[in-house]
């Protein structure tokens, strides 16, 4: 299994590394381009210095993941403004938010070092520059910047290492990076992947750090040789990193996936399905439910699998439950009318939120339904995925049955099942298509009041791609082909057997034909 994991990791390295290099390089260049003039201005103006450094320091205290996450709503709001004003839509997901967040992140060390480098110069040398007849620009270019260069370079070097490390966090906002290894690996408990991602990102950071250190000493010792070697090395890293991207088709179909195993497998299945007819596809994994829907509506991604009940409650804000067929019908209609999103139809299985308990525990307490659970809930702890407790379904269930738990905890889905087994929580919000329900022999609690809607897996296509007959024709054969037991088996292969989602997608494809 480890051998195949490493092979799978190698296979995607060119894409991940290329994206990572492109993102980091862009962020460092943009960060330097903004920070240098700003720092030069701040070095010459006491009034400017304090606010500039304070703002940069505050940005630095924001956790990397949060900073990246913040740019999504920010760009979304900006996009709606520019769309209204100029008809121009800004992509809120993927490269742009990651670039902006990392650029901000890179600024503090460059600002701080440049200001320190310029203000720390021997005042006699600065006066001498004026006295020999230099204009302030000449003084800056011929004397101040060259003398401060080693300190400035040290700042850029720190920034580069930070950016390369933090770029791994751009996966959840839809930007492919070496972080994809880490996030996917964490999700599927594929530690080889996690380790591979860590090592690759660290190796890149160390390599760039050494090269920039060489450039720094080149500046300090005025060694052209060192400067040229460092420059050539950086160019080599950039070219080697970006080379694989150059060949990639410019207009790829982007397939989205939420942050759990079934979604990874399904996105791989969709990708293979498109590849079969020669349509190049690119996957963005690990997106949250709301983010992925918006991304589809705005065309940042082109295809993904959602669940009817999720659209029903979260987007349409419906609280009734008129039955599986009716929810499917109304959802498809609403998606087209409201966003122009094409609903290709149900894949054939449901992945519903169901509250589940360990059988032995449920039997001991005599709990069969949510109504029974309400009686014991004040003494019990519940676990859910990161979204569950903030979704309308949860408040609906809690209200309908008057359920009030002692405590609630959020987990990665994989860890949630483990927490239930270990008795850390008593009840979990499980997924009905999850193979682990059978694996762990969990008791699913019935929902007599139909507080939870049905959750049919549906294949959605962005407004932009809805008119692309080649894409829709390629995907149509998937509709209605995946029954629940097939999907549960597939999910178990990933969760328990640690097979890669790509591998399992191939198995699925074989079984639906």
């Amino acid at each position: 299994m480890n051998g195949s994991s490493i092979a799978a990791a190698w296979a995607v390295l060119p894409d991940y590394l290329g994206q990572h290099v492109l993102l980091s390089l862009s962020a460092i260049l943009l960060g330097t381009a903004i920070s240098l003039p700003l720092a030069i201005a701040a070095a010459h103006s006491r009034i400017l210095r304090e606010p500039v450094l304070s703002v940069a320091s505050i940005v630095q205290t924001i956790p990397g993941l949060a900073l990246l996450a913040l740019f999504y709503p920010l760009l979304l709001a900006l996009s709606s403004v520019t769309a209204r004003a100029f008809g121009l839509r800004i992509p809120a997901l993927g490269f742009l938010p990651a670039l902006l967040a990392l650029t901000l992140y890179s600024m503090l060390p460059i600002l701080r070092n440049t200001i320190a480098g310029l203000t720390g110069l021997d005042p006699t040398v600065k006066t001498a520059a004026r006295a020999v007849g230099m204009t302030s620009w000449q003084s800056l270019w011929l004397v101040e910047l060259p003398l401060a260069a080693p300190v400035i370079m040290a700042g850029i070097r720190i920034a580069a290492v930070w950016v390369i490390g933090t770029a791994t966090l751009s996966t959840p906002v839809g930007q492919t990076s070496l972080g994809n290894y880490i996030f996917t690996g964490l999700q599927t408990e594929n530690w080889v992947f996690v380790l591979f991602g860590c090592v690759a990102a660290a190796a890149l950071a160390v390599l760039v750090d050494r090269l920039l250190a060489l450039a720094e000493s080149g500046f300090a010792h005025r060694s052209r040789f060192r400067l040229l070697t460092a420059f050539a090395g950086v160019m080599l890293v950039v070219v080697a990193g970006l080379y694989p991207l150059a060949g990639a088709a410019e207009r790829q179909v982007v397939i989205g996936a939420k942050n759990f195993d079934e979604q990874y497998t399904l996105s791989a299945l969709v990708s293979d399905q498109l590849a079969r007819v020669g349509i190049p596809a690119n996957r963005r994994s690990g997106l949250g439910s709301t983010i992925i829907f918006r991304a589809l509506a705005t065309g940042d991604i082109d295809v993904y699998v959602d669940y009817s009940g999720t659209i029903w409650t979260n987007q349409m804000h419906r609280s009734d439950s008129p039955g599986r067929a009716e929810v499917l019908r109304q959802t498809a209609k609403w998606l087209t009318a409201r966003y122009g999103i094409l609903d290709l139809g149900p894949l054939g299985f449901e992945n519903a939120y169901v509250l589940a308990m360990r059988s032995d525990r449920a039997k001991a307490l005599g709990i069969r339904s949510l109504a029974d659970l309400a009686l014991y809930a004040p003494r019990l702890k519940i676990g859910g995925d990161y979204e569950f407790f903030s979704r309308p379904e949860w408040s609906k269930v809690a209200n309908a049955y008057g359920i009030n738990f002692l405590a609630q905890r959020s987990y990665q889905p994989t860890f949630m099942y483990r927490a239930l087994q270990d008795g850390d929580v008593d009840v979990i919000a499980a997924f009905s298509s999850d193979g682990r329900i059978a694996e762990y022999n969990l008791r699913l609690l019935s929902d007599p009041k139909s507080a939870l809607p049905p959750y049919d897996a549906i294949l959605l296509v962005s407004p932009k791609r809805a008119r692309d007959a080649k894409v829709t024709a390629a995907l149509k054969p998937l509709i209605g082909k995946l029954n629940l037991s097939l999907m549960q088996r597939a999910n178990l292969m990933v969760d328990r057997d640690k097979r890669t989602p790509e591998d399992v997608a191939k198995w699925l494809a074989k079984n639906i034909r």
């Binding site: 006699t124 040398v125 006295a131 007849g133």
Partner: protein
């Protein structure tokens, strides 16, 4: 000996005066006050003639360095005007003005990232001289300040001793063939032997190149040895201005007398010791 030398120089000026020795630098009722209310220079007027070697002397904080910096607009006056060759320098372009005036610092202020040749050639380079002409000029100047061009041109400032660095500082100030040379305690950071030697050389360069030199110092011996005219300053104003001989024979007040007496007493004691020794 002091008298002889001063006499010799005033003789040169006498010769020149026949052709019309007019003031090249004029400070007219100049004041420099700082935003915090402190005044560095108060209502100071001073004429410096072409070819003169003027030494500004006084205790620290008397305004002598400020006065010097007013001449090439490193500092702008709060009131009054400064003229060079009859033109108000406030009306001339700062950068062009500074390229016409050599400036030597106590802290030397060589550019550490440039070679000796590049340091000396900086003002000509800024002024757009041709490469070959700059190279020729750098050679000439290195020889003038007694540094072997082949040995020094390609080295960096940190590889030189303090005295060698200040020779380069003098060469750099002279690079664009200025008529005026401003020196702010140029020998202050050097050890005594180097100091005397370099002082003597600056005096001879002044004569050979026909410069107008203004030098700031707090060392009266140095002033007496170098100056055609000594301007004694205190509290931002001039106490007395005169040839070394005039100062020695007729100090304006107790303050000037004190300043003169010190080197005189030392010289006499030395002379006594030397005569008894031989």
């Amino acid at each position: 000996m002091i008298v002889v030398r001063a006499h010799g120089l005033s003789a040169i000026c006498m010769v020149r005066r026949k052709k019309g020795c007019r003031a090249v630098i004029r400070l007219v009722h100049v004041s420099k006050t700082y935003p915090n209310g402190g005044a560095a220079v108060r209502d100071l007027s001073l004429n410096i003639e072409a070819g003169e070697f003027v030494v500004l002397i006084g205790p620290s904080g008397c305004g002598k360095s400020t006065t010097l910096s007013l001449i090439n607009r490193l500092i702008e006056p709060s009131a009054g005007t400064v003229e060079i060759d009859g033109m108000r320098i406030a009306d001339t372009e700062q950068v062009a003005l500074r390229r016409r005036i050599g400036f030597v610092f106590q802290g030397i202020g060589l550019f550490p990232h440039l070679t000796i040749a590049e340091n000396i050639g900086i003002t000509p380079r800024l002024a757009g001289w041709e490469r070959s002409r700059i190279a020729e000029r750098v050679r000439e100047l290195l020889q003038l300040v007694r540094l072997v061009p082949e040995r020094y041109a390609a080295r960096y400032p940190h590889e030189l001793s303090g005295g060698e660095q200040q020779r380069v500082g003098v060469a750099r100030a002279l690079a664009a063939e200025p008529k005026i040379m401003l020196m702010d305690e140029p020998f202050g950071a050097l050890d005594p032997l180097v100091r005397d030697e370099l002082g003597a050389e600056v005096g001879s360069i002044h004569n050979r190149l026909n410069l107008t030199t203004v030098l700031v110092t707090h060392d009266m011996t140095e002033a007496l040895l170098l100056a055609d005219r000594i301007v004694v300053m205190r509290d931002g104003g001039i106490v007395q201005s005169g040839t070394p001989a005039q100062l020695v024979s007729a100090p304006a007040d107790e303050f000037v007398r004190e300043m003169i007496d010190n080197p005189r007493r030392r010289a006499m004691r030395l002379a006594e010791m030397l005569s008894t020794a031989t």
